[in-house]
């Protein structure tokens, strides 16, 4: 069972967690993910590998507390074990041949976009970054991004930090000013990735989006993560998770990701009191 090495909040809703997983760390590449099951009764959920250190043997995940599973995960602390961590799964992002890249992150997607920027920057590619958030309080990894790119642009929906607006409008502005990129990587909410792909399409810029469909096994078995890409059915776990942003059927993806929304909300409410009990118990345990 992988041990939690470090855990800290990145913003009020997103947590950084470094796990001791030497075999995964040795193989991980940007763009891949792990399947995580926090406890015996838990769900298996996919989380993108946000960073990895083959020397220390650690893998970092960054997650937003949105459902029961991420809430349960968040009750664990450094020194605790996570029941199951499986990976690295999915294909690494294909960045070969890129010379000028734009990496775009939306919300918690920025945390996942960070290793892409870092990896490209380290391999000598010129990297610009746009990260966007709802509001100032949610901005994360600003310093890390600054060290890993030539130009960093930050947008907030409400204008409380950086420039007001969406990442896609910032990208559109840069492109219309004549900024040239041969690769755009977009990671974030589905509507954001779609907007970015719409902006780059007329320019013919290769645009990779990292899709986040629901998954059960993550190894090509359940078909839950199927997405329509270029009119064909693809499984994000074995064929992706990165796909050509100009070919993805985003409407279908949004529908498929909403399948369990009602149940998830009900479960969240039902579990809220249980989670409180578990949190209290964990705190007591910590006092001893």
């Amino acid at each position: 069972m992988p041990n939690i090495v470090t855990k800290r909040p990145l913003n009020p809703t997103v947590t950084y967690m470094e796990l001791d997983c030497p075999e995964i760390a040795r193989k991980a590449k940007p763009g891949q993910f792990v399947m995580v099951r926090p406890d015996e009764r838990g769900e298996r959920i996919p989380l993108t590998i946000a960073d990895y250190d083959p020397v220390r043997g650690t893998v970092t995940i960054m997650y937003q507390r949105v459902g029961v599973t991420t809430q349960k995960l968040d009750l664990l602390n450094a020194g605790d074990n996570v029941l199951d961590v499986v990976g690295p799964l999915g294909n690494p992002t294909e960045v070969e041949g890129a010379r000028r890249a734009m990496v775009i992150g939306g919300g918690v997607g920025s945390a996942i976009a960070y290793p892409q920027a870092k990896g490209l920057h380290a391999s000598g590619v010129q990297v610009d970054v746009i990260i966007g958030f709802r509001t100032k309080q949610l901005v994360l990894l600003e310093g890390s991004f600054r060290r890993s790119c030539s130009n960093l642009y930050i947008t907030t929906d409400d204008g409380t930090y950086g420039e007001q607006g969406f990442v896609s409008s910032k990208l559109s502005e840069l492109l219309s000013e004549g900024r040239q990129y041969d690769l755009v990587i977009a990671i974030g909410p589905v509507p954001m990735m779609r907007s970015v792909a719409q902006v780059t399409e007329p320019y013919g810029i290769k645009t990779l989006v990292s899709l986040n469909p629901l998954m059960v096994d993550g190894t090509g078995m359940c078909g839950c993560c199927r997405v329509r890409v270029g009119g064909q059915t693809k499984f994000a776990c074995v064929d992706g998770p990165d796909f050509d942003g100009h070919q993805v059927d985003y409407d279908e993806l949004i529908i498929r990701n909403s399948v369990y929304r009602a149940q998830e909300n009900a479960a969240k409410e039902a579990h809220a009191c249980n989670l409180q009990k578990m949190a209290d118990a964990a705190r007591k345990g910590g006092d001893r």
Partner: protein, 465 residues
């Protein structure tokens, strides 16, 4: 001389109305008296055709003779000399098309209930012998990696370990069993039996590594570098097929694998588990195999009205006869000669109707099965909120993606030597659905056995050099 007029002893079962509301086992098993009585029907043929009909050649008349004598433990020893997992095969084998199809008594009457007797003997042993299996001889010189812990992998690991070889069993999921745990429901194969198999394997010295995806985390080269001298690939045929009809991406459309995995492996039907449950009120299951029956019967147990849609007729269904009967008894509506052409959107992205056409059977195709053809103008709508596609599966792609040196055929199955199960790479063997495409548990077990034998031969030859 056995009484040639006696019918076979019926299997005690849970009442259909009751069992359609629970996940407990449907078939309750013979009592010792029933087993002895049924065993008395065996003719002990000089040339036992039943044994030829068994993919793992269980010595059927021998074990049945011991059952007739009431020596159940001796019967168990005879079965397990060729079949390490009789509690499983006794429950899930399609006996009617294998051993029992060849039984001489079946020519004029009912064949001996070989499967039920096998199950009885295995259950009797489990109930009376708490001691897990022990290796035949310790002989830990050669290390074998078995990749995938489904029926083929379990059997291969069991046979190798029993002969004293050091085996590590790699499994991508958090628990071993493969299709036995994620696919076949509790009411057909209680998971306690798979857990007992796990205890047996551990007791035989098998190292079990769950959560390990060979192909992604470790390559075959790395396994050899780590000191494994032979590898058995039993990665199954997990990748689900879809029909390619409009609307398959809608909410409410599932592969049978997803539907069953959520219910069986992740226990979504139990309140205390977190995995969300497919919540359909009216469910159409498309397909005619055992997986389709399992999905339909699970949906029924979750309270849904269930429609089974199959493009051929009842005669052509590949499912075990018993599963079809059980499904019918449980109130599942069968629509034969019916084929879906589209899943209809309710306007909000959810399935609300299945558009179907009637079919008729034409000339036999190259496999001898009559080809279904659409009846023009026969379209109709079936009102459903959930559609489960149980159309078969293709081999898992992860290992062939990671190791291009392995020869695969057009369908993505590993190509192996039929006798030895060896792949195109020395020291690498493969078997089960990963080689044949989706087939049965017992064929996979047979392949695991064959591979174990070939691997032992290969390792012993290498050892002498």
């Amino acid at each position: 001389m056995a009484d040639m007029t006696s019918p076979r002893c019926p299997m005690p079962q849970q009442d259909p109305a009751e069992r359609a509301q629970n996940f407990q086992e449907v078939a309750l098993g013979y009592t010792p008296e029933m087993a002895v009585q049924e065993a008395g029907r065996c003719l002990d043929c000089k040339r036992p055709f039943c044994v030829e009909g068994c993919p793992v050649n269980v010595r059927i008349p021998d074990f049945i003779a011991r059952v007739a004598d009431g020596d159940f433990e001796a019967a168990y020893q005879i079965i397990t000399s060729t079949n390490g997992l009789p509690a499983i095969s006794g429950r899930v084998c399609p006996q009617e098309s294998q051993c029992e199809a060849r039984c001489v008594r079946g020519v004029k009457g009912e064949p001996v209930a070989i499967g039920r007797l096998e199950r009885f003997v295995a259950d009797w042993h489990l109930a009376h012998h708490a001691q897990p299996a022990q290796p035949a001889q310790p002989n830990n010189y050669a290390h074998v990696a078995v990749v995938g812990a489904g029926p083929a992998g379990l059997t291969c690991a069991y046979d190798l370990a029993q002969q004293g070889y050091a085996v590590t069993l790699f499994e991508a999921f958090h628990t071993i069993g493969g299709v036995l745990v994620y696919g076949i429901p509790e009411f057909r194969l209680p998971k306690a039996i798979v857990h007992r198999t796990e205890e047996d394997l551990r007791s035989l010295g098998v190292q079990i590594r769950t959560n390990m995806v060979v192909g992604r985390v470790l390559t075959l080269d790395e396994l050899f570098q780590q000191g494994y001298q032979a590898i058995f690939l039993a990665t199954g045929a997990g990748l689900p097929n879809f029909m390619g009809i409009p609307g398959e991406g809608l909410a409410g459309v599932y592969s049978a694998n997803e539907f069953l995995t959520r219910i069986n492996l992740m226990h979504a039907w139990r309140e205390e588990y977190d995995t969300p449950l497919p919540s359909g009120k009216t469910v159409a299951v498309v397909g005619g195999g055992n997986v389709a029956m399992d999905a339909a019967r699970c949906a029924r147990r979750l309270g849904a009205e269930v429609h089974l849609v199959y493009r051929r007729g009842r005669e052509e269904m590949p499912a075990r006869a018993e599963e079809v009967e059980h499904a019918m008894e449980e109130g599942i509506h069968f629509h034969f000669l019916t084929n879906p052409t589209a899943v209809i959107d309710d306007g909000a992205g959810r399935a609300c109707n299945l558009n179907c056409v009637r079919m008729e059977l034409g000339e036999p195709d190259e496999n001898g099965r009559r080809r279904p053809m659409e009846v023009p103008g026969s379209d109709f709508l079936m009102a459903v909120d959930t559609v489960v596609m149980a159309l078969g599966t293709s081999p898992n792609p992860l290992i062939r993606m990671a190791d291009e040196s392995l020869e695969v055929n057009r369908r993505g199955c590993f190509v192996v030597d039929e006798e030895t199960m060896r792949t195109s790479r020395e020291g690498v063997y493969a078997g089960g659905d990963a080689v044949t495409g989706a087939a049965t548990v017992i064929l996979a077990m047979g392949a695991g056995k064959k591979a174990a034998k070939a691997i032992m031969k290969y390792l012993d030859a290498n050892q002498q050099v």
